[in-house]
């Protein structure tokens, strides 16, 4: 097996001016923008094209959706704080403080877990038990698609953060700068996921 290391994982690539991991992360995020952008566009087009009440196919009002903007707002706050803890983890590592960086990573992980638990226990389960399934209306099919896909991204972020808290933490001993850069890439992804929610929350819960 080859032991050759990847080039430009720490120092900037001469062409792009940034290290390769960050470049790759931004390419990935560009594809994510297209994915969520297409879904947001679908939401807007279907909402604008929906017939007016009293048609049975009309777009539901806030009361008809039974979505609690307070629960959604709480989860928004949780994600905003998690982005702050994520960037603090990176800043601590950048200053060479591994234990502090690790504490902030744990906080980010726990906040992400809080988001998922609240989403499932206070929103998904009561809604599904109450018959508000994706097949109920266009709104609910879009609601579950958008929030479900976002939830999967949050879980994906938790897996990555969990890896850097567990087996991936050994990289800090070998190459602290490389580890810090990987946390920065994780932070970029995490900020994107949180930014998607910042747009989802007003669109689904307030407007």
């Amino acid at each position: 097996m080859s032991t050759q290391t990847l080039p430009y994982t720490v120092h900037p690539h001469p062409v792009t001016g940034i290290y390769s991991g960050k470049f790759g992360t931004w390419l990935f995020l560009a594809s994510e923008v297209m994915l969520f952008g297409a879904l947001f566009s679908s939401y807007v087009l279907l909402r604008v094209g929906a017939p007016e009440a009293p048609s049975p196919l009309h777009w539901p009002s806030h009361e008809e959706t039974h979505l609690s903007w307070r629960i959604g707002g709480f989860n928004t706050l949780v994600l905003i704080v998690s982005s702050v803890t994520m960037v603090m983890a990176w800043a601590s590592l950048k200053m060479g403080d591994f234990s502090k960086g690790r504490r902030y990573l744990w906080l980010t992980f726990l906040l992400a877990l809080t988001f998922i638990v609240v989403k499932l226990s206070l929103e998904y389960v009561p809604k599904l038990r109450g018959g508000y399934v994706p097949a109920k209306s266009t709104f609910f099919s879009l609601y579950y698609t958008l929030t479900g896909l976002h939830g999967l991204h949050v879980i994906g972020g938790m897996v990555v953060i969990g890896y850097f808290l567990g087996p991936g933490a050994a990289l800090w001993k070998r190459d602290p700068e490389y580890y810090t850069n990987r946390i920065e890439c994780t932070g970029l992804y995490w900020h994107f996921v949180d930014l998607v929610w910042i747009f989802l929350f007003p669109v689904l819960y307030l407007m």
């Binding site: 001016g17 940034i18 960050k22 931004w26 307070r70 707002g73 928004t76 905003i80 982005s83 702050v84 960037v87 990176w90 800043a91 950048k94 920065e184 932070g187 970029l188 900020h191 949180d194 930014l195 910042i198 929350f201 007003p202 307030l206």
Partner: protein, 68 residues
């Protein structure tokens, strides 16, 4: 764009959301909502100010880190 730059963008978007949320919650309260709406509205306005203060603090803390 580094995480520092992206975080600044994030803080700006969040502060706009806090401002919008504050207006929305106060309107909900004035339209017959309960006191919790008023509390959330005031809290959102305070959050807006807090995010601006935090953004300035963050920029000062990471002064030496590149935006690229």
């Amino acid at each position: 764009m580094s995480l520092k730059a992206f975080h600044i963008v994030f803080v700006v978007v969040c502060s706009l959301l806090a401002l919008g949320m504050g207006v929305w919650a106060i309107r909900d309260y004035r339209g017959g909502g309960d006191k919790l709406s008023l509390v959330i509205g005031v809290g959102s306005f305070l959050g807006f100010v807090g995010l601006l203060v935090y953004g300035r603090w963050f920029l000062r803390k990471l002064r030496g880190v590149s935006y690229l």
